[in-house]
């Protein structure tokens, strides 16, 4: 019987041996990694009345004080963080402290997620781990921490095939935005999305993140990309244990298949308020005034994104508040080595410690009523910034061009 990669990963992790699953079945699994970030840490990690004496395996758990916050922004937050550090030390759990960067990208960069792995982490963009052939889902409740076991309802898989090459000035962040705009946020509710096609498999791993992270913006439960030579090369030196690549059988059943060609995206794409499916070609929104730009976020903070932004900003000056936030320390170091930080500083932009940016204005970059930001994170939904403030989404190059003009601008004029 043929299976999809996600079905196989769930079967491989079943607590009781099973040799078949179908969509809709419930499976109890033993997971490879769980964790949570500091937004949860603001709540008592141990609910009232419960003290954890031992977790299932402290080496398979991470606490990320670095995801939504680049640094404690108040006395109370600093105290919360300190309480969390002390609590984690007692249980032997590793803390990824402030400044280390975006949870999910660290998990992939550091080989914590690897081909075939099953990870349950408390944040919706855990879907991103499909970029390295792992299965990631959100949610990390107390029972998982205590037992290492997690239940799953097996999702049907939708396959999204993207062939071909992009046109000049069109980036992966434009391609995924185009797809969300075309299919809408409910295209794949509760489905696994397997990304495939020559375009996807031509991309370096960090440029696959926009697709696997924004799987959740299409309603998806988890994502998957078959590990290829590019994946395995990128994982060298990162994964410290043997692993077995899992992939869908050639005759596996996909509930739906969507076909795209990267060249059908003819213009940079911009998501407009109030949500990511309100996507427009840039020609329809050119000149929209913007007060603040952020280049960062889980879908726009890789070294490739930083290079694209720097190419536009080099030798030019920004007109509005511009925040540049490399996704992780690894990206920050590489920006330094390549001279990109100098380009950013020379342009008048401000570089901030690694974290997930202003896609939610938790930590910094808050907006006044009536203000508008543009960023290259995954979401611009109502409620993610102050009431009466708005967000547009675009590629790192579009964000950089917008910073220069103080209004939504076409990056192709600067390339």
């Amino acid at each position: 019987m043929p299976f999809t990669a996600i079905e196989k990963i769930l079967m491989n992790h079943s607590v009781t041996p099973i040799d078949k699953v179908s969509p809709g079945d419930f499976v109890i699994t033993r997971i490879d990694f769980t964790g949570r970030h500091e937004s949860d840490g603001k709540k008592p990690i141990e609910p009232p009345g419960i003290q954890i004496l031992e977790v299932f395996d402290p080496k398979k758990i991470g606490i990320f004080l670095s995801h939504h916050f680049c640094i404690p922004q108040s006395d109370a937050a600093a105290q919360n963080f300190q309480n969390t550090r002390e609590w984690a030390a007692k249980l032997g759990i590793r803390v990824f402290d402030v400044g280390t960067g975006i949870l999910h990208i660290q998990v992939m960069e550091q080989g914590i997620a690897y081909p075939g792995a099953l990870c349950a982490v408390g944040d919706s963009h855990t879907t991103g781990y499909g970029a390295v052939g792992a299965m990631g889902t959100a949610g990390a409740s107390l029972d998982i921490w205590l037992t290492g076991e997690n239940w799953y309802r097996v999702p049907p898989t939708h396959k999204y095939i993207i062939e071909g090459k992009t046109r000049h000035g069109i980036y992966p962040r434009d391609v995924i935005q185009y797809i969300v705009g075309k299919l809408g946020m409910a295209a794949s509710v509760y489905k696994a999305i397997e990304w495939d096609g020559s375009y996807i498999h031509s991309l370096p791993v960090p440029l696959r993140f926009p697709f696997t992270m924004m799987t959740v913006e299409l309603g998806g439960k988890t994502s998957f990309i078959r590990p290829d030579e590019i994946t395995l090369e990128w994982l060298k030196g990162r994964v410290k244990k043997p692993y077995q690549v899992v992939e869908s059988d050639p005759d596996a059943e996909f509930e739906k298949i969507f076909n795209f060609d990267a060249s059908e995206v003819t213009e940079p794409q911009v998501a407009t308020p109030p949500n990511p499916e309100h996507t427009k070609p840039i020609s329809e929104v050119l000149g929209t005034p913007v007060n603040q730009v952020t280049i960062g976020g889980c879908t726009g903070s890789s070294i490739y994104d930083m290079r694209d932004a720097a190419k536009v900003l080099k030798g030019r000056e920004v007109k509005i508040r511009t925040l540049i936030i490399p996704g992780t320390r690894e990206v920050m170091r590489q920006c330094g080595a390549e001279g990109l930080l100098q380009i950013f500083a020379d342009s008048g932009a401000n570089v901030f410690p690694s974290f997930c940016g202003t896609c939610q204005t938790h930590c910094l970059g808050q907006l006044a009523r009536g203000e508008t930001q543009m960023h290259c994170g995954p979401r611009n939904l109502t409620g993610r910034q102050a009431e009466g403030a708005f967000a547009y989404l675009g590629s790192p190059a579009t964000c950089a061009a917008t910073a220069i003009e103080g209004a939504i601008a076409d990056p192709r004029n600067y390339l």
Binding site: F26, S39, K42, P47, G49, I50, Q51, I52, L53, E54, V55, A76, G122, D123, S124, T137, A138, G139, S141, L142, D143, L146, T147, W151, R153, P155, G184, M185, A186, V189, Y190, V216, E217, G219, G220, K221, N275, E277, Q360, T361, H362, R379, L381, T382, G383, R384, Q385, A386, E387
Partner: protein
Amino acid sequence: MQGEEWIVEGNVWRVGDNVNTESIYSTQWHGKKEVVLAHLGELVIPDFPKKVKQGDIWVAGVNFACSSSRDVASLLKEKGIGAILCHSSSRNNFRNAVDAGIPCFEIGDEVKKISMGDRVRVNVRTGEIKNLTTGAEIKAQPYPDFLMETLEAGGVIPKILSRKSEYKIKVT
């Protein structure tokens, strides 16, 4: 609760498709629970936080509680909501609802038979739903036994507390 019926009956608070978690629980209220509860849901239904009553029912369209995984299910429960009915739920919300001990039934297009303000009765164990205002009857897929057990316990935390000897925890 074994053997007893679990009935939720109340008035309906109705929202549309693709209602995201942040529009129910906005980032601007983050970190202050009393503020969150005072404002919960007001961006989508202005009256909701002031007028919701114990046992009321939250009814949504496609892809309910999409976007971030912040737990609106437990907050809706805390405000008095006894059950969530929707066309389809985001995966994160389906999970959060079980963890919080609040039933969430996905009923597809049948959800169109329920409007704002209707009186609805939900039999949580059987998945039988009746719109008492219109007479419409809807049958939802019941939860499997192992999830029903968590729901009946009141969620993951009460379930852990009820079996504390199985976990390495100290009850304080």
